[in-house]
């Protein structure tokens, strides 16, 4: 839920997860204003798609490809939308998860992340993700990774939202905090190893 201002975490209630149409969820890291612009483009796209009123709808694969075209074309003009986007969805029973970044690199994968998540969370996913996890197992795994990020990323804040998308639609949870543990001996008397003069 954090929005940075340079290297400072300034905004603590920024929603970085958005539902797109009936079938897709989009999450972003990077420049929040660019993300807001992307959401505007996508809202327009979905609007025109709905206006056909013909039973067809854009699914996650289509939205992903559209975003790839958008990001890559901006990069080619040396005016990128400074985001890493993660995109997931379900359509006709087919699940989809993919990512696009500001240089237009895009791929589908079973686990994707932005920013520090790539370095801290994805190794955990590689070990612990498996096919046919239940929703609860998935949330536990995600919370484990978010905890690691909370401890290790200096610009993280203990406020997160989980979003879920199924054939029926998308739900985004209310923001909540995860339990952290600071009872390690080393934290109890921080100055033990280096007593200062004051």
């Amino acid at each position: 839920m954090g929005g940075s201002y340079g290297s400072t975490l300034r905004y603590k209630s920024v929603q970085r997860l958005k539902p797109i149409g009936k079938h897709t969820l989009l999450g972003a890291g990077g420049e929040i204003s660019d993300f807001q612009e992307i959401v505007r483009y996508l809202d327009e796209l979905i609007l025109y798609d709905n206006m056909w009123d013909d039973g067809n709808s854009l699914g996650p694969k289509e939205v992903h490809n559209y975003l790839n075209r958008l990001m890559y074309n901006r990069r080619n003009k040396f005016n990128p939308l400074w985001n890493t986007l993660v995109l997931g969805g379900v359509k006709n029973g087919q699940k989809y998860l993919g990512t696009v970044n500001m240089i237009g690199v895009h791929y589908e994968e079973n686990h994707v992340a932005t920013g520090f998540g790539n370095h801290l969370a994805r190794p955990i996913f590689r070990d612990e993700w498996h096919e046919d996890m239940t929703f609860e197992e998935g949330v536990k795994l995600l919370e484990k990774c978010m905890l690691v990020l909370l401890y290790r990323d200096r610009s993280a804040v203990n406020k997160l939202q989980i979003a879920k998308i199924t054939e029926e639609g998308a739900t985004i949870s209310e923001p909540y905090a995860i339990k952290t543990h600071w009872e390690l001996e080393a934290f109890k008397n921080p100055a033990t190893g280096a007593v200062g003069s004051w």
Partner: protein, 269 residues
Amino acid sequence: MFRNQYDTDVTTWSPAGRLFQVEYAMEAVKQGSAAVGLTSKTHAVLVSVGKTNSEFSSYQKKIFKVDDHIGVAIAGLTADGRVLSLHMRSECIHYKFLYDSPLPVGRLVVQLADKAQVCTQRSWTRPYGVGLLVAGLDETGPHLYLNCPSGNYFEYQAYAIGARSQAAKTYLERKFETFPECSRDELIRHGVISVREALAEGKLNGSNCSVAVVGAGEAFSILDPKMVQQIIDSLDDKNEEPPADVAPVEGEQGAVQDDTDQGVAPMET
């Protein structure tokens, strides 16, 4: 239709609320040679009869592949048909490029109809003089649409356009209720038979008859002329087959068998 004082411009209404130039454009469709389209639950088929300019020339191309999942059969001004097919291909490619997904047939048909409508409302362009039978497959199954020069479009289970199409339509009317359950090959047979009804003289053969299919798991393709010839030949075979002789059943002549001394019947112990 007779000439009248309201038919010079497409931008002139008649007092009865008709646009004669548009109606004349639809006449051009009726002059083209026949094209037939039909759908089942799983496939869509297009069949057409080709004309030649002279004995030495090739047959006019009537069926165009627009994308892996869409094809079109034309009747009328073939140049207009060719240009519109190219436009349809371009639309499909563009959609594929943006969304990595096939363009839903219904949307292509509406775009085409909107393009045709423009020509009914400008003084400097004439309406397209071609009718298009668009056959395609999308998430909701196989579809057949007709695009008219008027800018109208209709979805059909089966339809025929062009010269003597009424004869083809009569055949289709008799049989169309069986189409949803037809197999791919049966559907093609129906298509070829119906187009044969629309032939005035001469015989159908692999050169003057084009057949195209699209279906679940099968990309749109125009069948090889040899294949078409085989289908046409098999039609003739089926027509000339005499009713199967019923062979006399041995053993039914003579008295009914006496089963008192046959032994014990299986169900009795």
